[in-house]
């Protein structure tokens, strides 16, 4: 947990948020717990026999598990309740043993009706440099004014 309580005035277009602690030592247990919580029991995510039979080196994480890790980063940064849009594209597989780095870049700062909004690009990369998720965010931020 790293609640930032960020305000609209704190951010500028082009700002990069890179100080989130990496998520280390992703394990099969993480995938199994996500399978249970989400109800997604696709065997590719917990059964090495099935995953290797179709050519994967091992089981790999649910895309939505990585998206969930990213959502934690996002809501700690901009605040629960302030997210207006959150989107993810799954680009690579997350394998056990990986360490993930999550980051964001502010792309736009603007007014929408009464709200002070930002758009941001989101990125999840593993320790081999493989992009796991490209994402985007729209958030409404409180103002200091």
């Amino acid at each position: 947990m790293d609640l930032k309580n960020v305000h609209f005035e704190d951010l500028q277009e082009g700002d990069e948020i890179t100080d989130w602690p990496p998520v280390e030592n992703i394990s099969r247990t993480h995938f199994v717990r996500y399978a249970g919580a989400s109800g997604d029991f696709n065997p590719m995510h917990h059964d090495d026999t099935v995953a290797t039979k179709v050519g994967y080196p091992s089981v790999f994480g649910h895309g939505m598990f990585s998206a969930g890790l990213l959502s934690h980063f996002v809501t700690d940064w901009v605040g629960v309740g302030n997210v207006r849009k959150f989107a993810v594209k799954f680009k690579g597989q997350l394998y056990p043993g990986a360490t993930l780095t999550l980051s964001a870049t502010v792309t736009k700062k603007y007014k929408e009706g009464d709200e002070n909004r930002i758009d941001a690009d989101l990125l999840v990369v593993d320790d081999k440099g493989t992009t796991i998720i490209n994402g985007s965010l729209t958030a409404a931020l409180p103002s200091r004014g």
């Binding site: 993480h30 598990f65 629960v80 309740g81 959150f86």
Partner: protein, 148 residues
């Protein structure tokens, strides 16, 4: 081959009770230790409604069967992306009814040859007061060959 005429097809829906224990379980599963999820009256995490995607609708018939009826081969289908628009609050104690429809079908040439077909289904979640609180889009990709 997936026919573009499936755009607009209604995909049925689901019914979900937003339970406090399930919110805690889901937050733990995504390693989110924000205390709001473990206190009274918790909100739903951003991707929480994924848990309802695997709940059959009350009238029976899961999403998988419907997808195969639309010409999809589930062995060649991957989850390519997910998008959310948050229209209102979702909290423990809410009941959500969802309805889904195919909103887009498009094709793209794959890097390693073969055509990739992207199928987008859009789901609207409505709470017990009749308010639309969430729009979710699931983007599936079907490759021309089985993943190998």
């Amino acid at each position: 081959m997936v026919d573009k005429s499936i755009v607009g097809t209604e995909m049925g829906g689901s019914f979900m009770m937003v339970e406090r224990g399930k919110i805690m379980e889901f937050a733990k599963a995504i390693l989110d230790d924000n205390p709001v999820y473990f206190a009274e009256d918790p909100p739903a995490p951003l991707t929480f409604t994924m848990a309802s995607a695997h709940w059959p609708p009350p009238t029976g018939g899961g999403g998988g069967a419907k997808l195969t009826e639309l010409g999809l081969d589930l062995l060649r289908v991957l989850h390519a992306g997910q998008e959310y628009e948050y229209l209102g609050e979702i909290k423990a104690g809410d009941t959500l009814t969802s309805r889904s429809r195919i909103s887009d079908v498009s094709e793209k040439e794959g890097k390693r040859g073969g055509t990739m077909t992207f199928i987008t289904s859009e789901t609207t979640f409505t709470n017990q007061r009749g308010e639309d609180v969430l729009l979710a889009r699931t983007i599936l990709v079907q490759t021309s060959k089985a993943a190998s």
